[in-house]
Amino acid sequence: MKLYLKYFGLIAELMKASEIDLEVSSGISVGELKSNLINGNQELERISFSVAVNQQMVTDDSVVCEENDEIALFPPFAGG
């Protein structure tokens, strides 16, 4: 199934992209997705990042992604 990934700030810089469509096996959890992304880019490992699924912050890595979900990867917030 397809996920719609959005990268921000330092993460966009490391991933050299700000938006990307990603094919994943259906039933993938947020935690599994994070592991896959870190395996694809080791630099991600050294930063603390948070995840929003369809614009809702997700704190539980066991949440399961669904087809066409928007998955946003955020480095630490820096507003103001």
Binding site: K6, F8, G9, L10, A12, E13, A52, Q55, A72, F74, P75, P76, F77, A78, G79, G80
Partner: protein, 148 residues
């Protein structure tokens, strides 16, 4: 929690000007139930790191999500404190040192609710809004801003 207010766009391209702040203040003159305004302004600091000086911050955000979060923060603040108005503006794109990137404006009949609401709003914004700042140094190198 009833949500009757519309989601507004908090973001402005570039710095928030003193003229815009003045306009916003003047717009409250007809609201004669207001006795106290409290305003927070975030200004870009020329921080020095190893002799390298910040010259500007370039702001990016998940705009839709941030606007929704600002909306929720605003609603929660109205529920917690006895207020007349809340206005929030945040810059996107480049803001030079000495310029203003965040404008939070709270009005109430009395000073204590205005004060407490402003503190709550600023802390919520800093911790919950998906906004990112690239600190650009005079030599064009950069680092990513982190709130504390």
């Amino acid at each position: 929690m009833e949500k009757t207010r519309k989601i507004k766009n908090v973001f402005r391209e570039g710095a928030i000007t003193s003229e815009m702040i003045a306009k916003s203040i003047a717009a409250h003159q007809p609201k004669t139930d207001i006795g106290a305004h409290e305003i927070f302004l975030g200004q870009v600091r020329a921080d020095q790191i190893d002799g390298n000086v910040v010259k500007s911050i370039e702001y990016t955000a998940h705009e839709d999500m941030a606007n929704a979060i600002f909306h929720d923060i605003r609603e929660e603040t109205f529920n917690k404190f006895d207020l007349s108005c809340i206005h929030i503006y945040h810059s996107l794109g480049n803001v030079n040192t000495g310029e203003i990137c965040l404008f939070v404006f709270v009005s109430s009949a009395h000073r204590v609710p205005a004060r407490k609401a402003l503190e709550f709003l600023v802390e919520e914004i800093k911790s919950k809004a998906p906004i990112f700042g690239k600190e650009i140094f005079e030599d064009e190198s950069h680092q990513w801003k982190v709130n504390n």
